[in-house]
Chain length 137, copies 2
DNA sequence: CTCAGTGCAAACGCTTTGCACAACT
DNA sequence: AGTTGTGCAAAGCGTTTGCACTGAG
């Protein structure tokens, strides 16, 4: 589970992508990141963003968040943590839960699956959307 | 949170979709269901499948599973339960966990989100893929 | 010098939608 | 009869990919 692929060359594009991601806690989507990287490397292409995000995620340098039924988001923070998604605007934030309790899920379920991992995804209303106080939308 | 939209007309397509879904525990994707429904309603279209699945999910008759980075799957079982996804073949099964513990997550997180829900998604190897014993794939 | 990485644009896979017609109620 | 639902095909959207070129090592 820790058999990461190596990153061989460090291109300008790649470095900038990593830097932008490290300086953000907003879990940007590929195209949001594209916008940011483009400011510093104007000729960059969206394909390059995607290719690098995949490579970096496989190398374990960043994390790919594949959340329910949404565009993928990327996280420069490698520490173990969960996420909340705003049900109104889609924004994603980190959740720090005191979770030793996360480990006491069954290793083998009745269904015969050998369970190897679990993700907890919270949903709720972000501070901004609470203000606008549209009850659910 | 229980403000379901009403289903007004019961067409043949709609009835067959519900029936197929109720008789399955395999959480089919829209196109798998399309294949099944087509056997009984040969002229059905994929667009109709999608439109009905959305309508039925909104009406609370079925559940839409929006799992991490995959095609959506649909579940005729409305009881509260979690799912395991096979990391090898993508198959999805139900998990019954004794979860009163699910409720004791924080209502309000430090990030300022008002947390209203949570989903736990397990990953693992299904029985079939354990046999083929490709360690991860 | 070499080959991994890039830009560009086209293709892809899943899902949604516009339109004219069909069929529940 | 009236209007919701349908089939079909086209469009949409995020993501991936083929190709010739570029640049890191």
């Amino acid at each position: 589970m820790r058999d990461h692929v190596e990153i061989t060359r460090m291109t300008r594009q790649r470095r900038v992508i990593i830097e932008e991601l490290r300086h953000l806690d907003t879990h940007p989507t590929a195209d949001e990141l594209y916008g940011l990287v483009k400011r510093r490397v104007p000729h960059v292409s969206l394909g390059t963003i995607y290719r690098n995000l995949d490579a970096l995620a496989e190398a374990g340098v960043i994390r790919k968040l594949e959340m329910s039924g949404m565009q993928k988001r990327f996280d420069g923070n490698l520490e173990e943590h969960h996420h909340v998604r705003c049900i109104s605007c889609g924004r994603v934030a980190d959740v720090r839960v005191e979770t030793d309790r996360d480990m006491d899920y069954p290793i083998m379920d009745a269904s015969g699956y050998r369970i190897t991992g679990q993700t907890v995804e919270f949903s709720g209303l972000c501070p901004e959307c609470q203000k606008e106080d549209r009850p659910t939308n």
